[in-house]
Amino acid sequence: MNAARWRQLQVLLAPLLDLPAAQQDSALVQACAGDLALLAEARALLAHRDAVPEHLPAALLMQTIADGGGEAWIGRQVGAFVLEQRLGSGGSSTVYKARRINDFEQVVALKLLHARADASLVRRFERERGILAGLHHAHIAHLFDAGSCDDGTPYLVLEYIDGRTWDAWLAEEQPDLRRCVEQFLCIGDAVDYAHRHLLVHRDLKPANILVDRDGVPRLLDFGIATLLAGSDSTVTREGGRALTPAYAAPEQWRGEAVTTATDVYALGLVLYETLSGSHPFRQAGSAGRELLRGLDDSEAVRPSLRCSDRRRAAELKGDLDNIVLQAIEHEPARRYPSVRALADDLRAWLDGRPVAAQAHRWSYRAGKFIARHRAAAMAAGIALLALLLAGGVALRQTHLALEQGDRAQRRAAEVRRFATTVLFDYHEGIQKLAGSLPMQQRLVRDGLAYLQGLQADAGEDASLWRDIATGYIKVGDVQGNPYLANLGDFAGAARSYEAAAHSLARTTADPDITALHFEQARLLARQAHLAHQDTQLELARSRYAQAVALFQQLPGEFLARPDALVEYTDALDFYGDLLSREGQSSLLDAPGARRLHQLSAQLRTDALAREPDNPRLRYALYGSLLREGEYWAGQNDMARAEQGFVQALAAIEQLAAADRDDAFRQREVGVVLTRLVQVRDALGRLDESVDTALKALTLMEGMLARDPANDAIRQGVTSTTGWAARQLIKAGRHGEALPIIQRQIAVNEQRLRAAPDNPDIRFGLSLAYRRLGEQRHAAGDHAGALAAHRQALAIQQELAALAPEYALGANLSLLHIGRIELASGRVAAARENLAAAAQEFERLIALHADAVTYREELADAYAALGDAWRAAPTEHARSAAAYRAAVAIWDAFERDGSLSPRSAEKRAAAAARLPPPARQ
């Protein structure tokens, strides 16, 4: 062909390219206008339109690169085998046919991994090969051995199977539907067998199923994906996931725990393709990314609709459609609970019995829609949700009135499932998102209405009451669980928890006693959180103690489940936090708190060793790292404290980075940064501490901008502004501190409008005024400083009766006021305030022996009082008495080894002002 002819052909063909094949030829004939040679040539071109693939087959590129030394292996000895022939290569390995050298005749498939052989991979091989080699099943290709070559390259020795892949078998044999299902069941049985040996395949796909020369399907590579994926640290695993895109389950994409349900999903996809002839999410020519998008957004089309063979489509419609769709549900919990259950349903179909899989209900679909389109649901979904809930309630009531016995029972179960969908799954999804608060408020309101409706008809159904309780706990969490993303409505949360308690009281006949105790324990822990938040500390203590006792009664295997373990260890932690709360001598039990925290840390560490990628466990362990830092900070060992906080920071930054949507965890990053500010300050690294504080503030403000109504983030902002301002003032940058303090006051006032009586928030506002006072003082504005401290004092005095730390706070304000009066030359006022402060500190410290940390402030008060009397020539005796009292306190610090360099300086200054002994 010459260039001119090719141009001529192009002109002819170009307009036809987008036509359907059927019209193409007639258009071509017409265009050729009788030029038969041209027509023949054009037809020849069109005949091979797909001979060149759209993309370079990835395998070719892989092989090219992998081949660095690929061929060099032929003829080499690996273990007891010599490599004879290369069978194929992929991204992770090259497979050779190999023959045993001695002993007996044996041909195997030897798989050389492209992985770097680090020590941990080799160790895992040693450990796992025994387990894998113990799998004996007619439909599983046997793994004989695993090891590593002299140069460290790991290898697997597998049974050699002379056969073709599942896909090839399907294409070449064209088996009918029954035969497909029967063969598929062989694979299902193999997977079920392995699951009962506690092994998950996690890389099931047609390429891993070979049909041998006798037509027997054999499954390859059991346990190998697990073996390989485990070789990575958590970090790289999240970066590059070990999965085959077309067959990976949603939880694999999300980097969550892989379970037997993951294999159910992959088997479901294989079944889908086997029955319908096409992959549910793969469009012609779509690349990996589109496939992923398909997995995220779209519900799989019923296999019968994807099937081009009309007769087969009719056979698929109904039961087989339902079976396949149930196997490939997005949420693992909605799939068949086991491969066995999937296989049972397929056998039921073969036998013509009814199958368990059901078509989706409308309500379920709608709930699912909202869950998937989380962001869009913020706007459009609210109305839909309301409609759903209202509709659901009405529907249920009508039906309950009309139906009796079994039908009513069934109806109730269905309604319950619906409620569970809306309240749990879907809330999990939205609660993390910035800006989701209005949606959550709506959810709370409608959820409560819904639960109340359900209560009215619950009768004596114990498990329904338990579900209602679970629902109330969930709603309470959204309203005001102080340790989760919440709406800051603590009173509402208390009411919901109370309703949960009432519901649980109706479940005395619950046959599932473990589930009941678990709910009771969770509820008690939450009620304790609220009591703690509301400074009803004794009540909090007794509830935590009850919760922990209940958790500890649960069976060990139940508590080992990550969700139960997290609830339990959280209760341990928060109980420990309460016991280490300062300013509460009746409760303070530092060693007890430490034991609780260490127990919790140990349980979490052990659980993570079993399930290293579980994000909830990782988050829980972060909590333990944080408390480790807190503990050492409390022990005044700031170097170790810094170490703990730096570890905690790394852990939470990793978690936050893995899920940028998760506002609550982003906020935690700010919390840890704040603790580092304090520790670095104590270590005397002022510049670093200022930088850390500003970093924390920037982070929190960014989060609040994205989610302006979130109280937990507002609280984070007030805390970080406080620290940033404090450090700036300390570093002599009080000018920069002023706008930050104004911001701190504004955000606190905003929080207070939402919860006017909350003592912690009111105290927080008083601390903001104190900061302002310090800033004004540093700027030389004594009048402004006094005004600010007086504002702080007024709030603190109202709170003083509630808890010693508020009383101590008020006293600290007195001390500040006295010092400023002194600095402004109003000596009388200064004396009055300082004497009152010293007296009150003495009283509080005597009353609450654990308020010992305030002895430093007491010494300060005495020293300042000494200064105040020293101004008057006739009052030297009073002045000296005050100085001596201050020096005595610092001396005591020195004796027990806790005298800081700064206190030593202050002591020297006070001692220098004492009159010489001779003149006394």
Binding site: L17, R49, P53, I65, G91, H114, G240
Partner: protein, 185 residues
Amino acid sequence: MHSVEDITQQLGAARAGDATALDALFPVVYEELKRLARAALQRERPGHTLQPTALVHEAYLRLVAQAVPDWPGRAYFFSLAASMMRRILVNHARDRAAQKRGGGLAPLTLSQAEAVAGQDIDLLALHEALEVLAGLDERQAQVVELKFFAGLEIDDIAAVLGISPATVRRDWSLARLWLGRELAA
């Protein structure tokens, strides 16, 4: 010639028509692509597919973009890299063919376990057909090289060649027909 400045300078000269500059540059980009590919393979997890476009873009980032973010020769670099990807792949296919003749090695099929989805294609035949196509319509051959060997998207190819995406699409479809018939023959 190792520094990034040297490389960008050579790229500029090559673009201006200096053939010796291109010769000097070739081994650097070639080695970089091979190195990146091996590194990528080490990183990749089982079942993950390696994309040529990722390699080409990464090579560009490493060799050029670090030093000269807005370098005007970006398009030129990609066409150079595409021809190198082609050369790497074809050389490998040639080596294999030679070994097959000499060592009695089985043809490259993927039967056991690691079969990778996707069509098989005779790269050497494609390479030769592409040479012939270049004689008929050079631009179409370039489109194929960029699309198939460097994995560039239609829009990127349009930018590299300075033509409209619609033209790229048309060239690709027609060249595919032509090559398909050549390969089938």
